[in-house]
Symmetry: C2
Subunit: 203 residues, 2 copies
Amino acid sequence: MNRLLLGTKNEGKIRELRDLLQQVRGLDLLTGSNLGFSDVEETGETFLENALLKARSVCAEVGLPVLAEDAGLEVVALGGAPGVRSARFSGEPVDYARNNALLLDKLHGTVDRRARFVAVSALCLPDGQAFVTSGILSGRIAQRLTGDGGFGYDPLFVPDGEARTLAEIPLAEKNRISHRRRAVERMVAVLAALLRDGELESY
Amino acid sequence: MNRLLLGTKNEGKIRELRDLLQQVRGLDLLTGSNLGFSDVEETGETFLENALLKARSVCAEVGLPVLAEDAGLEVVALGGAPGVRSARFSGEPVDYARNNALLLDKLHGTVDRRARFVAVSALCLPDGQAFVTSGILSGRIAQRLTGDGGFGYDPLFVPDGEARTLAEIPLAEKNRISHRRRAVERMVAVLAALLRDGELESY
């Protein structure tokens, strides 16, 4: 039946994943609104561990192939922080205004502003097989917040070759260059190979 | 330059990988004979961990993209053993005659002979990105050793839909259905996407 469950409950991510995965013919996409699943605590120390943790946990719960992802910001001068703690950089509850303020504060007077967004996609099958892809968007942290679009650290992140922050770049344009898109497109290549081999037929 | 180092020193595996990877245009394949690297101890508890461990370790040593793999046999009635201990199932040094004898012994009188070969390929880039694919060949453990071809557990492993053991199936035919080939072919899809995105250009 070639069913694949998207292991996220974020409506924005679901929309973007649907858009990217429609190029894989014959895949029957399910979401949390078709099939409920429990939230998974992200206890991993890397994006890869967290993405696998989510995909495996939901896959074990529902008995279907599951695609999950984890993503965040790595700042060179901060040794890769905030990394897997990107959302909770300044504590709980998640507050990006506070996260952005903390990031500017920590980089105050720092010349090296290099940073990158990293996304990792993980696909797990009920037979235990796992597939992982990743994507990167390199850039730098601006001196101040600019732009109203996007979310999270977007108002502070200027992609390489750009003068605008991600929050100033129109969504369609941002989606074309995003780390998440790159990770998912590479997973699309894997999914196409799995479909060709009939590996998803029984789900 | 699109260089990719094969993170194995096994001549048979290198030959098979070269054969499978030649369909990826523009890739410059290197092996241990071009560029030396240290052996990596396989301390992981899963094929995925071991494959990543090898790829990451060699990648950190040589500063080039590295493809590594781990593979083994999982027997249902043995709870997935020998798994990552496939080569050393009956102790060190590695001895497959002894491994096969031990496997037959452990399954003596066992009706459930289901088993599968699992292969995991891992690709690591110096920028920290990682990609993982896997492949499975399902079958069953025969009552006795048959056939001279292949290696390892092949004389005991009968693929689903087959009457012959892997050791009785000609190498070219075995390579078409093997778990290792499936894992690598899915990685070929990822490599093609990475080349298209220029992600390997600087290596």
